[in-house]
Symmetry: D3
């Protein structure tokens, strides 16, 4: 991630109410009706310290969730972070430390890691695209997120240096090919400007003549879907800086550079949310003599 974004992006965290709610649900899901049968076998007075350690290269995200897991589970557990969301990690990087009753550390371990590993996976995949896209072209996420986890995943995208497309269907207008089954581009854009003044009105275009139609109608952004870099370049030339140009459709880490060179302002991909492999992180545990 380059410096430009870090400055303005502010907190990487999702809204705190979302974090609290999802952690509450995740803990309820994992503890079940009887609690942790196995942790109850360990002496109540045994204390432990666990280092949270990365086991692969990637980008950290989700620390606020892990902190919240232990806050909800046992307020006597202390969680400290050596690194913040957005930091690069590698094998053996100690990213933080959890200290408290062994039972609580063991019970919260998996839930905390489930947040950290998935969200760091999202941030890591995002960073790969960001690096490959270069300075000028931004990496955008999509609404192809895991059900219920969108706010967290969008925060992880920010931690990885990406930027956020629509968080919900309420945010702005995006006319896609399937909408055109019921309305023309010109009609759709006209109605959008009338019904939702002041908002972004983006139109998905599969052909350059659709770009023309969208711009003529007053669209404030175009989405070029499933085009080759050359096709993108032609459209970018036609747009001539009047509006931002987004490129989507099967873009990979290997091809994103070509689209960037073709002039895309934004490249969007669902891979970074829907298909990001978990980043491997674990708890290295020692009983605590302190």
């Amino acid at each position: 991630m380059n410096a430009r974004e870090r400055e303005g992006a502010g907190s990487f965290d999702a809204p705190v109410a979302v974090v609290r709610d999802l952690v509450r649900r995740a803990l309820a899901e994992d503890l079940g009706p009887l609690g942790d049968l196995t942790a109850a076998l360990v002496p109540a007075d045994c204390r432990a310290r666990a280092d949270v350690v990365a086991r692969a290269d990637g980008v950290l995200a989700g620390t606020a969730c892990a902190t919240e897991v232990f806050a909800q589970l046992d307020a006597s557990v202390e969680v400290e972070w050596a690194l913040a969301d957005g930091a690069a990690v590698g094998p053996a990087t100690v990213v933080g430390c959890v200290r408290g009753p062994l039972r609580s550390v063991l019970t919260g371990e998996r839930t905390a890691l489930n947040f950290l590993c998935h969200l760091s996976g999202v941030a890591t995949a995002t960073r790969s695209f960001v690096v490959a896209a270069g300075e000028r072209t931004r990496v955008w996420d999509t609404r192809k997120t895991l059900p219920g986890l969108r706010a967290l995943e969008k925060a992880a995208v920010r931690a990885g240096g990406g930027v956020n497309h629509r968080g919900s269907l309420s945010e702005f207008v995006l006319v896609k090919d399937n909408h055109l089954a019921g309305v023309s581009i010109t009609e759709a854009v006209g109605r959008a400007l009338a019904s939702w003044p002041g908002r972004t009105v983006e139109v998905e275009c599969d052909r350059i003549d659709q770009v023309d139609e969208a711009l003529a109608a007053g669209a404030t952004m175009v989405l070029l879907d499933n085009m080759t870099p050359d096709e993108v370049r032609a459209c970018v030339d036609r747009v001539a800086g009047r509006v931002l140009v987004e490129v989507s459709g099967g873009v990979t880490v290997d091809t994103v550079g070509a689209y960037a060179e073709a002039g895309a302002d934004l490249v969007s991909t669902s891979v970074i949310t829907q298909s990001a492999p978990a980043l491997d992180l674990g708890f290295d545990l020692a009983t605590d003599k302190g």
Copy 2:
């Protein structure tokens, strides 16, 4: 998936209350406070039919969630499935059909697909392991699931032909290496049998002498972690069929066959839940003249 499981596995669906609750949350998340700004641009009386089409090889899962999306959004939308969860699909396989007001079809499309693509991704990854593991060795999931989605992911694992390890910490006892920071194997197993009679008591073993200790203490299952196939074979010989043997730790589709041959009863992997790429499915839309 072989026939043996299909017979007994029953419904692949997660408990209906979980489906309803997660769909409700996913719709609220995607619609936001104003609803779908873009769908409102399409005429209210325009009707459509969308085929739900696979675009890659894989295994279908999550149909109950997609059905529920439209049931909650607009009861006049009809959803029919040509295939059930667990079915194999390939590029252009039509798995089902959604028919109703175009606005509702468009508004529900993404949420329905987010469930289908992720859960089918889990089922697909599971099926790969199941095929590679062969008839005798079963593929087990883990608690490394995405927060809040465990019940759905575990159902998808079943659809892929895998079987379910613990759904929560309440289900049975699994003494892992980190527990041994506070208690010995012998102590842990003894207490488990006393505190939680009638339940599975599994012990994670890194060495063959731990297997001996676990069995002597009365464990009803052993988990061999991070062993080579040869090491597994030695342990399996030692166990001699007295209890089930689970193997875990970095097992891949390429190596699972070797572990199966080494005699593992169950091989568990987090890859099928935490790192399964989404299966590509989409809506092919036509306005409906009927």
Copy 3:
């Protein structure tokens, strides 16, 4: 409301999940732990028909909520609407009819009316501003809504012919005077364009030089706060159609016309949500012989 909006605005209803959730809460709130003590005094087999009647001039809104009240309370109650949200009503206008067991009609009456009267009040106040503002200038709502009721109130604004400003802080950027305590207009807009590409970036301006600064920085919209119509006209001239101009700050039904003539594209007011008096609607009841 003019025809232009009706065409594009689509459904006036809030997202259905919001309606369901708020109705559920409102019924729980009104029924309490014991249910309706008084309705229980009426014979169980007595049926009734109630006309829902306006008792003053205004605009109808909230019918979906009233329908949902009876759907949740007693599925045997039938609710029919003679008019839809957005319709003009006057004293004695029958807007709909509720028919079913007298007990259920009585128990649901107040909750249904609480939604209808408040939301119709919002729509009515909006319509007054819309009429006074004329064809060219649009009436915008604000985030000054009643806690928890925003989605419903924003839908009622649409029913009244107004349009919706931000539904949440996630939708787009609006730099207000209080933000300038920590950042300059130029910095804020620059960061906004970098951090949130593709989104509306609006800047509140109290003086014409701030308009200049905002436009130079790349703002896509300006909000003129607490200006006279003459000051607005000067700013509108300076903007010269490059971006939309919103006017806010103490605008009333009496003054909105002057601001419209001064060239405001949008006039926003909190009066239509936060201070709209309830529209008087009631149930005219007869026992049902049918």
Copy 4:
């Protein structure tokens, strides 16, 4: 409000669980999936102090909600109140102070004010009626409240010096004209005394003979609806102090005095909840050098 009530009324606050729940929902509603896009543009280390200032005459209410907003948003924000719920305020009265990170102050500002402005509006409207009603006659609220906000609005009525009619249909019996479609006054009161012994049984009367019937049947309270002050006086004479007399139906601040003089014990009005304009309060912000 006179001294008599202040003594006994105790806390003006709504039950704490209600406050917590509604604040949680209001924050989720306002922050959306991405959080506050604009506040993120301000430097993270910038601190601010905001005075909460009234801009009109009225009565303060809702401070507990505003405190809770910041407690949930950012525990490092300090909120102090110079005045308590129930206090009279005027233009420029500083009612409290919020101090903490500028981002958090900005993000919570609107939600906190939405509670304060509405609830203070309710308290202010109530106080007007209380003053006009005089010492002997009490001002009662109704169940005509905004859906989901009843507990808060009823607390605001108390802050304004009013008293609370039924909080829900469970609290006591009130036989209204619409109930008489299915049962006579005599039957209804008789059943009420049998079914719900020990509870208030109030009967709405449109005519003096209904008052007679209600008292003969054993009603413990009568509600005179839509009567003139003279009609009320006649009924009050007939009741002769045996039960409390409530007056309702289009009573305004201008007419409440006449009803009080006519001998009403309680005058109820929906205006103070359903149609109370927001009291204007705002945040005056300064960056904090401390």
Copy 5:
């Protein structure tokens, strides 16, 4: 239960929203993350019919909950009741019938019975007190109910022929001995009448002079706690019909008659909610050939 109450009591059911919510939670609690492991072993196409049969003498309650269990679990299951809440049952009485897929019948059986057995237990215990108390004295419940189940238990008390004391602390005033640690009876009643006009103001009295003080202060009801029948009679004489008299404190089925003869209007007991043994009901199952 005598005829007098049956006429006026209306539906025995708790508010429908409470039933829905508690059934949803009970099903989630019982199904867990994986659903019913055992029911999945039964063929999917096997259908069954189960009679719901009482196995002891008692009073039926909770049928609405049992119906709702199957409605939420599987809409294809049909539930019919031969008897309604409040009906007397004995060993082998068939109270209803459940018909549908065997898997669904088996999965819902326990949750449905948990509601039926507990609530019928409450109704049964209530009926015993009602019969022993005789025609003139009513049996009142208390706030000593199981957390979260109050609305259901209060409905079951109604089904058993009892009547409902306060459903919550909001309903009316009851000054108990512990309140007198901070206020005198005279002060408490005076403040209550001022703060909460129109509501029942009841005072717990341990001695006859407290009865005098309560009446002098204007209490509308007295609660005689832990008195002998003779002491109650003396108090009843003193009260002389001016207010209702409640008796509480260790009253049993054996002693309630004596208190009734002593003139108590109402006798309250926590035994019927907090300590009522479950009524034994079960499912008699046959596979369905229809």
Copy 6:
């Protein structure tokens, strides 16, 4: 309860999220929309100390719930426990102390006691069975619990020295007589071992030949239902220690010893959850001079 279990059982508390959620619901239920009308009559500055005192012999449980009641209601209230869950109490045993504002102590009293009295009742009933069963045979609970309260009741069973059978239908397989309407024992067990490897597979047997069939099929546990002690002994002999033997069906405190002597490993009963009378505990209050 013998020492063996105390050592390993760990915390008696239910999962903390369950406690928080149920306390929140219980408080909302008891406070209603207006809060505690009566406590508001007591001076705001009056402080009190209440001893929590047992009034009968029994076993304490639910202290964490009572602590949470006051934590949620008023953080300034201090709660201290002299005894922990699982402790034996008798008449006048002081189990803890609550100290804080009199209003808050009074308002929370009933909700706190409702948890304590019910859960201590469960623990007390459990302890009676545990003592009667002797050292070798364990007392198991069932899924016959009060809807929504299972996790708390199962924790109370542990506090009483009992052990926990299934917490939900997800935990393990239990083939009961009603399942046999659709499948044979051999089929059911075979499918269970295939579908749910590694889990307990228990079979309910009414006859000794069913025991044979279950063991032959591979069941890991048998449940002998409604047998005499002699029949149990015969089955125990047949099982010969290969699997654990559970006995259920009308076992009482008086008969449990005979079943224990007959060789049952576990005896299960619903009486301890579904029909346990509340243990009598109360608040002894004094105003606090400290």
